[in-house]
Subunit: 451 residues, 2 copies
Amino acid sequence: MMGNKLVVIGGDAAGMSAASKVRRVQPEREIVVFEKSEYTSYSACGIPYFISGMVPDMEELIARTPKQFRDNYDIDVRTQCEVVAVNTVDKKIKVLNKGNDTTFWQNYDDLLIATGGKAICPDIEGKNAKNVFGISTLKSGEKTERYIEDKNPKKAVIVGAGYIGLEMAEALIIRGLEVTIIDRSEQVMGTLDPDMAEKIAEAIIELGITLHLKEDLKEFEISSNQVVAVKSDKRTISTDMVILGMGTLPNTVFLENSGIELGTKNAIKVNNKMQTNVANVWAAGDCTATFDIVSQNYKHIALGTIANKTGLVAGSNLANEPITFPGVVGTAVTKICDYEVARTGLTEKELKKLNIEYVTGTIKSKTRAGYYPDAEDITVKLLAEKKTGRLLGGQIIGKEGAAKRIDVLATALTTKLTLQNIIDLDLSYAPPFSPVWDPVQTAARYLIKKI
Amino acid sequence: MMGNKLVVIGGDAAGMSAASKVRRVQPEREIVVFEKSEYTSYSACGIPYFISGMVPDMEELIARTPKQFRDNYDIDVRTQCEVVAVNTVDKKIKVLNKGNDTTFWQNYDDLLIATGGKAICPDIEGKNAKNVFGISTLKSGEKTERYIEDKNPKKAVIVGAGYIGLEMAEALIIRGLEVTIIDRSEQVMGTLDPDMAEKIAEAIIELGITLHLKEDLKEFEISSNQVVAVKSDKRTISTDMVILGMGTLPNTVFLENSGIELGTKNAIKVNNKMQTNVANVWAAGDCTATFDIVSQNYKHIALGTIANKTGLVAGSNLANEPITFPGVVGTAVTKICDYEVARTGLTEKELKKLNIEYVTGTIKSKTRAGYYPDAEDITVKLLAEKKTGRLLGGQIIGKEGAAKRIDVLATALTTKLTLQNIIDLDLSYAPPFSPVWDPVQTAARYLIKKI
């Protein structure tokens, strides 16, 4: 395979992880990357912290620039080049050069699709208005920041109370805006169980954010190509800007008629080597469906960790170093105000859908020994299979030092541990770090009584 | 077995965990606990923080008092009662009531030995001097504090640079003393590899502590029953007090001729149910030998986590709820100045002794995304089996947020994960918590190249 032309579509985490891996193994191989924006390898997760001002310079979010890839890695990165079609029969792709508005066809021997995701927006008038911002790419972050700087907006409406919606809400509050969040579901953070999400909702309201749940976005009120109000099924909220926090969908529209099979939410179906159904076509990152080890189902999860891992797996295989990706367990973490929030595994809603009989238990503990200064509250909820006691999920909310404990539960899910196994784990203890029973073990000790 | 008399020797973590568990399951059973001090269920690990003043009141270190156990749990706790002999043939123990200096025999149906450990001191003149303090019991902590309050010492010598020695050194520096540590080995913290221990030594010296390594305690210079100087093989250090930080040994001298089998360092041999070789005699906590899952050997490890767990296991079995203890992987954590230090698994020294061919890799990373404020340095060292890539150990040094990551490695050791498995773990990521590859995964990615 050495010497064959590798073409990568998308120059962010997955695409550049793969390209870099191939370059390390195959120094002579031709590698071309088409990226529709001007940026490569950036941290989209960092955008809210750039908007809030915690990260003063957007450049800091960029791990490596196109020039660095060209100069130091000999990877031919072509920015402002959007791939608009794939012909898998003739092994070529159609590229729109946005710099000069021309298109051309590019052949490949191996193709890696790593086009990421796009912020969801319902198909309503005004969705492309100048003051509506999705936060899925660095460019969108840059636009948002420029708008705030230039127009000095006073009010923002955020549609969607998931991770990005809440992180952006906090960022905008810090910037002095009046923030309203609407979400059509009954709770914030749909990936948490409602009882845990409730605590986050309280924290958000305490921060001065107006929260309207069970309200669906119906319409944008437009004036001079700007949204001036957001209408839900219950009210009209005047605003100077709109943030879309309704999640992302994979960027796969351009694959229509390519023969490349799509799965859940039109994410690209890949095997555990990151191969699609078409020979010599690979995919990785937010544009693909990810195997969930706990439910044994495929999901669409847009996360930098998965993009980096699957990019590396694709790159290894493309470079003839065979490797497989076992999948994920659904781990995620965020920080809202002083609250750290983390989750892994399945929620009650998912377990019900899967007809798995489960038990749950929630405990309160401390992040340090109770007598140690700054011991903070931590709440841990565990979900386990009723019959076997096997861990099925975990959720943590707490202050400084709480959330990273989710990693023990994520590892436990991966290795199929039971509650008893978790109780037996030799976790670290000293007064500055934990009570003598780590809170995740205290939760396991509590829940095991229901098995 | 219900209704039989359970006698417990030792009223701290292991003994009271067991007694409480039995009480919960068997509300009617007679339970008697003999404790030689005045205290039950306290956090010996908290003593340095009490000495430093971070924990203002010693009472805060006590989870439950003898009175609480008597009143709320119907457990007959008898303090100031030291057990001096065990007759396993007649199933009785000899108790010294230190309150009135009388002895009596007490029969048992089941006996649990949970006598903990005792600070090691070489057998030299002055070892019982008034200003020599071991920090293995709450009473010793109380004595130390009272001495500092009453005598206002200016200088302290700490013998031993392990966890307790270093924690006490920091505490005494905070109290304004001039502190010198001597240790006969070539490094501080013998449970770390020398390259990692070196970083801690630097931090200690930076704190203003005088550190003399490769110096053996030879003699105490005594005046009026007080140590006035500590003599090593290299120098004489004048001092107002001495702290023993040379580790602990199991309190098992009273078991001589009892027929109860002892193992490594005279720790009591127990099976995975915490049964000794003698029928109806059980043991748990710091007085027992603990099975190490990684090396498959027994070790003596005095730690609150293990005492609590083995106490619970003993209690469950005593209460006819059969359960086994799988052992430990050697996890420990501490905080010295701003440095968090954690370790799990085997060190290079141990691996050499076991003739296991291994590879090691050390990486530097950050505790948060590099661009996020207060991203701190973290150094992770991993040890893995050369042939299989299986994790064998891990050591972490870093600032705020570094150390608790050891728990992922501890879980990985327990479940026998390889470096590739660690790379694949779905660990949590968001900019306030971690780089996109958690530092333990970055270390695994680095080390796997040597497999």
